[in-house]
Structure formats: C-alpha cells, structure tokens
C-alpha cells in the first residue's frame, strides 16, 4: 500500500521544513525517498496549491464518553476531530465516571480503537474523583495509556495537594495540566470581569483569579521540577508569567484556544450563551497579548477545549447555561483567519502550534513528517473561504460562537496511519 501526496507545500516545523515537494507513504509510515522507483504503483493524491502538514494534535478536548453520550461520543468526537484536521486528541477526564483509574482509561482507549480515525490520548485525573483531595492512581493510568494528568475544570485549590501531585507525576513522567482558576475569587462568575460585566450586570471572573493560580503553579513547577502545562491561557498577565518562566528555563508550557484568540468579551452583549466558556472571553487587551504570544512562541499549542453541550442545555438564561463551546471543526479556519490572514503570523508558526508544539508539550511521538514517522497527515487550503454552518458538524453538538462566520482556511484531507479518513466534498 503506497500513497504519494504530490506537489504540496510541505510544512513540518519539527524539522524546520517548508518546501514544495512530494511525500511518499508506505504501510502507514512516511518514507525517506519520494521519487524514482520508490513511487512505483503508488496511489497519487494531488496536493498542488495545498499545505501538507503533520496531522494536528489537540491537547484539550472533552469527548463526554463515558457518561454523557447525548452530548458527544468518542466515535462522534473523533469524526469531528478528523474533519477538523486533528489526527490525535487528548481527552480530559471529567467524564462520568471520572477517568481517575486505569479501568476508565482502558475503556476510553478501547472505544477509540473501535472508532478508528483519530488517536485518543486519555488525560487522567490528578486526584480521585477530581475532588482535589487524594492523588489518583496515575502510574496505572499511564500504563493504560494516559499521557498527562489534570483536574481540568475543577482546579486543585489546595497548594499542598498540588505540590504532591506534581512530585508524584514527575517521577512517572506525566505532564500536569492545570485549568488555572482561583475558585473563591471567581465564585459565581459567568464572564470576564471588566467593562462588559459591569455594563451587563453579569457576575465577573477577574484576571486575578487566573493569574494568581498560574503564578502558584509556576512556583510549584520550580519547587518540584514537574512539567506543568497551563491549559487554555487567557490573560495578558498569565502569558507574561509563562514567558518569564520559559526564559528562566522552567518546564512550563501553555496552550491557547481559537476562541480566545478570535473573540473578546464584547461578544457577550448578545447574551448568546455560545459566548459563555471558562476561562471566559477576555478583553481586547488580553486577546492582543495572546496573539503576540502566539507569534513569539510563548504559546506552545492551539487547543480547542472542545466542549460539546446539547442545544437544550445552552438554550437557557445566560447565567444558568453551561460553560463551553465545540471547536474541532472550526479551529484551523479560525486560527488561520485571525493569526495568518489578519495578523500575518507565518504559516510555519501556526502549523507548529498545531503539530510539533503540542507533540513536544506532552512528549507524543507524533507531529512530524520525519522518515519512519507514523503517517498522520493533514492537507489544507490556507485561503479557501467558507461559511460556518453548525448543522454540518460531525460533532453531535452545535454550540459554536462562530455560526455564520465567513472564515478562510479549510481542511481538504486528513490521513491517519496513511489511510484517508476525511476528505472535504
């Protein structure tokens, strides 16, 4: 089984490659040579005028299975992933039951295997039941396939528990992922605290609630030597602290979501509950800081925080609706439109945040087109304009703030282990 992806612009930031050429895949692996006899008998995929990149890696998704299959299943989640160009996704543990032990981790891996398509890397809970009290059985979860640990959405407020979790995770080679939010400071908040929360009479979550927690985690990373990954970073202050930590050589990485890069809190004036997420959409100043952090390399990864919710759940009063938006199928287009087309951030940098950056952050063996690598490949058109129609999503849920937006950049084909798993019609 040979496949020749012909004539595309190959962008592989893991090897600093940006050149037009062919890519040969045989038996699900990338071959060193893509010319001469090696290509004999290969099926040809014409990629002229398109970008050929390593398959995208999303460090932060909620697949809702087990427990909330009416919102999303692992199957619908990976269908959504490959439609968005993601060949690997990291599934957060806030399922029901919580993924805090190896049996749940194995269940997720098994369901993902049945679905085929994108690879699913489970993220195990940091503490039992994500209650922030006792450490979970991280080593066993790692053996079962967990790549990182996190109490995403239920941040550990007790700093001593967090310290122990970091020390323990470090010994087992697990990255600690943290949703940084001081739950006391942000209690009752439904949006960013600032001009618009004051205007709308909605309760705010201040930047300080995120910044204080990020500062604590960076200090604990320094104290314990653990690898810490700041999830969905959203404030100018947090970005500045991560930048400083990196300069100091601390093992700290971070991710930003497409919605925090493209939207600000002014969007909440519509009272559209698809503008409600946690962390909340911040001010234009914060958004500008995120864009600069994406440009200068402070942000390691674009992660969607794909959070499916049923339409009925979002069709509520703003302060009663659940937090979160879906993101897998709009991520590339939002990021290209905002960062590449509007802010002239180079394509190589953007592809890095979708491939090698997240690969390095979680030590995944993907995100490269080096010879011998597993042939997870995403082919996209960086310029093609399209309109977001949530009814066409492969995800079971439709809760996007980008409905009706005209965006530029579209996934054309996604390959997993050399097999075509998505093709734009």
């Amino acid at each position: 089984m040979k496949l020749l992806i012909k004539g595309g612009r190959l962008i592989d930031p893991s090897r600093n490659v940006d050149e037009t050429g062919d890519l040969l895949i045989e038996d699900g692996l990338v071959k060193a040579q893509a010319s001469g006899e090696a290509t004999d008998g290969a099926e040809v995929f014409d990629a002229a005028g398109l970008i050929v990149a390593p398959g995208f890696i999303d460090l932060h998704v909620h697949l809702r299975e087990p427990g909330q299959e009416y919102k999303e299943t692992i199957r619908s989640g990976v269908e959504s992933a490959v439609a968005g160009g993601f060949t690997a996704v990291c599934a957060m543990p806030n399922t029901s039951p919580v993924n805090d032990n190896a049996s749940v981790t194995r269940y997720i891996k098994e369901k993902a295997r049945e679905a085929g398509l994108a690879e699913v890397h489970p993220v195990g809970a940091l503490t039992r039941g994500s209650k922030g009290e006792e450490l979970s059985e991280m080593a066993e979860m790692k053996e079962a396939g967990a790549v990182a640990v996190s109490d995403d959405g239920r941040p550990v407020m007790n700093a001593q528990v967090m310290r122990h979790a970091m020390e323990y995770a470090r010994d087992h080679g697990l990255v600690v992922v943290d949703h940084c939010q001081d739950l006391h400071l942000s209690a009752g908040g439904v949006m960013h605290e600032g001009h618009y929360s004051t205007l709308l009479g909605l309760r705010g979550m201040s930047r300080a609630a995120e910044d204080g927690h990020v500062a604590r985690d960076i200090m604990l990373a320094e104290l314990t030597g653990a690898r810490v990954h700041i999830a969905h970073i959203s404030t100018a202050g947090a970005v500045e602290m991560v930048r400083a930590a990196k300069l100091k050589g601390l093992p700290v990485t971070c991710e930003a979501t497409p919605h925090h890069l493209a939207l600000a809190d002014v969007a909440v004036t519509s009272f559209d509950t698809n503008t409600k997420m946690n962390p909340p959409l911040r001010s234009e100043t914060d958004r500008a800081a995120l864009i600069e952090a994406a440009r200068d390399g402070t942000i390691d990864a674009i992660a969607t925080d794909h959070a499916p919710h049923h339409a009925d759940e979002k069709m509520l009063e703003y302060d009663c609706a659940p937090f979160g938006v879906v993101g897998l199928e709009t991520a590339l287009a939002v990021v290209l439109t905002e960062l590449y087309h509007k802010n002239s951030i180079p394509l190589t940098r953007i592809v890095e945040m979708l491939t090698a950056g997240p690969g390095r952050a979680f030590s995944l063996s993907r995100g490269t087109l080096a010879a011998g690598a597993v042939a997870d490949i995403t082919v996209f058109d960086p310029d093609r304009e399209w309109e977001v129609d949530p009814r066409r999503f492969k995800s079971k849920s439709r809760n996007t703030p980008f409905a009706g937006w005209r965006l530029r950049g579209k996934v054309v084909a996604t390959f997993v282990r050399g097999k075509l798993v998505f093709r734009d019609e």
Binding site: S197, L199, L200, G201, S206, F271, L316, D319
Partner: protein, 313 residues
C-alpha cells in the same frame, strides 16, 4: 419624534429623543389617573402578559393598572423559579407564551439578558420589567419623569445615587438615562458594592458619571439624592460587616441630607428598608418623592404600552 421600536429592553439602546418622546407621552397620560373614570379605550382588545420570575408588588401592579386604564386585557403569571429548575428551556417558555398571541409581554427575571433573548424569539413586544442587575428601564423613566416634574429639567442637574450599586439595575438604567439627558451623576457606596470601571459605564459621555470614595462627596450640593435598597437576596459574599455598620456609614439621614442643595429632592425605587439605607424621618419628610415616583409609574407605563402596542394602530 416617532417611537418605532418593537421592544423596550433597556435605556442603553435609546436615544435622548426617544426618551423625551416617552416622557412627553407619559405627561399626556398622567391626567387619566386623576379622572373619576380612570380609563381610555386606547388599547381595547389588546392582551398584555405580566410575566414575573421575581417577586414584585410595585412594578407588577403598576403595569397591570397601566394596562387596565388603557383598556387592554392584562394577565399576571408568576413563576417562582427560573426555567432551568422547572426543566423547561427559555425557548420553550417563550414559544408557549407566543402561542397565546399576546401583544406585549412584560418580563421580570433574575438573570440579565432574558428579555433580550426572548425578544429575538417572539413577535410580541417585550418590555423589560427588570433583568437581574442589568436594567430596569421603566423605573429609570418614571424617575426621570418625577425629577422633571419637580425640577423642570434634567439637564445640568447634579444627581447622587447611593448604596448597593453593584446589584442595582435601577442605578444602571438611571446612569444611562440621566447622562443621556445631560445630568451629572455621582455614585457612592461601599467599594465592595461598586463593580470595576463603573465610571466608564457610559462610553460616550466622558466625565458625566463619577464614582466617589466618600458618601459625603456624592451628596454634596446634589439636586437629587437617590437611595438604593440593600439587595440581600442577591448577595452571596460578605460585602460589608453588618447592616448596623452599613446604616451608620451609608444611610441617608436628615443630617447628611443637609449637605445637598437646599431644594434637593430624595428618591428611592422601593421597597424601602427603613432605618437601613434611609432613615424614617427622611422617607416621610417633605423632600421625599417616594410616593410620587409610584404615582408617576402608572403614567409612564401607560405611555410605554401605548407607544409599543399601539404602534400600528
């Protein structure tokens, strides 16, 4: 000046001309309530629903009387819980109301934005009767009507708004309305009850809204002192040490009122917590317009119903 809106959702969206149209219209309706037969046939055959998710005596009764004096049929629905605890979505609630073909729905709800969400879904006129801590446009309009009646103008007046600014939709709507009509507004209260950036609330009227650190600075030389109720039902945190300390530090007494202009008037949207934010001798004193506000509420709400529901007729 025509008034051509389907809904009255807030003051923020209104122009000064629209506000003046409502106040002028209210002026012409005020006389109806002084007749021996307090009724005009203006909205005969129209249906108005009062849909209240929060308890209310004043506003709901005022709207009901306003509708009846215009000969509209008015119906009251009280819901003690929000749709989410009832298990029905906001959309379903809205569609069920719409199915009964009302001409206007007055909605009061503890969640900001509910009137705005409903207005997009249904064709009846939506009137915001207070949405959480967001807006209470009819209260601000009746306050403006009352001020105008007693001061002859709004432009150039110095107006103090004192108390629980954070949880107050009345303060927000008044800040918008009074600055749009050229008044200077100063707010004061415990810093814990003033949300960040309140002085920048009004984007395009730089300097006409100020936050004072001291209560006395806000009251000094004011033409109008508007006191707000402490909204204990919306308070989840410790915002101040005790009601006793609050009343000593921030309560309006006759002595504090002496700091205001000699002909200053005192207002309160009600219900009044006597002895907490305002002392009884101020409530019952000659400067108090608290009951005038209630009287004017009917005329202002008649005007709003007339302008919205009577649009095409």
């Amino acid at each position: 000046m025509a008034f051509n809106r389907k809904d009255l959702l807030g003051i923020r969206e209104l122009s000064a001309e629209e506000i003046i149209t409502i106040l002028d219209t209210a002026e012409s309706f005020k006389e109806v309530s002084t007749r021996s037969i307090k009724k005009v046939p203006t909205l005969r055959g129209k249906t108005v629903i009062n849909f209240f998710f929060e308890s209310s005596t004043r506003t709901r009764t005022s709207f009901e009387i306003a509708a009846k004096r215009l000969s509209a049929d008015s119906i009251n629905i009280s819901a003690s819980t929000s749709s989410v605890t009832k298990g029905e979505t906001l959309m379903d609630t809205a569609l069920n109301l719409e199915a009964m073909a009302p001409d206007a729905i007055i909605i009061r709800h503890p969640s900001p934005g509910v009137p705005h969400q409903l207005a997009k879904l249904i064709s009846a006129s939506i009137i915001n009767g207070g949405d959480g801590a967001h807006e209470h446009p009819t209260q601000a309009l009746l306050d403006a009507f009352t001020i105008q009646e007693h001061k002859g103008r709004i432009s150039g007046l110095q107006i103090a708004i004192i108390g629980d600014i954070m949880h107050s939709r009345v303060a927000r709507s008044n800040a918008h309305l009074l600055t749009k009509l050229g008044a200077h507004v100063r707010v004061a209260g415990p810093r814990t009850l003033i949300p960040p950036g309140y002085d920048k609330l009004i984007e395009d009227s730089e300097g006409s809204l100020a936050v004072c650190d001291r209560l006395e600075d806000a009251i000094a030389d004011s033409d109008v002192v508007m006191m707000l109720r402490i909204q204990r039902e919306r308070m989840t945190d410790a915002f101040f040490p005790s009601l006793k300390e609050y009343s000593i530090q921030y309560g309006l007494t006759l002595r504090r009122l002496e700091l205001a202009a000699h002909d200053a008037i005192v207002m309160h949207p009600g219900p009044v917590n006597r002895g907490v934010e305002i002392s009884s001798d101020v409530v019952d004193g000659s400067r108090s317009l608290i009951l005038d506000q209630v009287t004017n509420g009917v005329a202002v709400r008649m005007a709003i119903l007339f302008l919205l529901v009577g649009r095409e007729t």
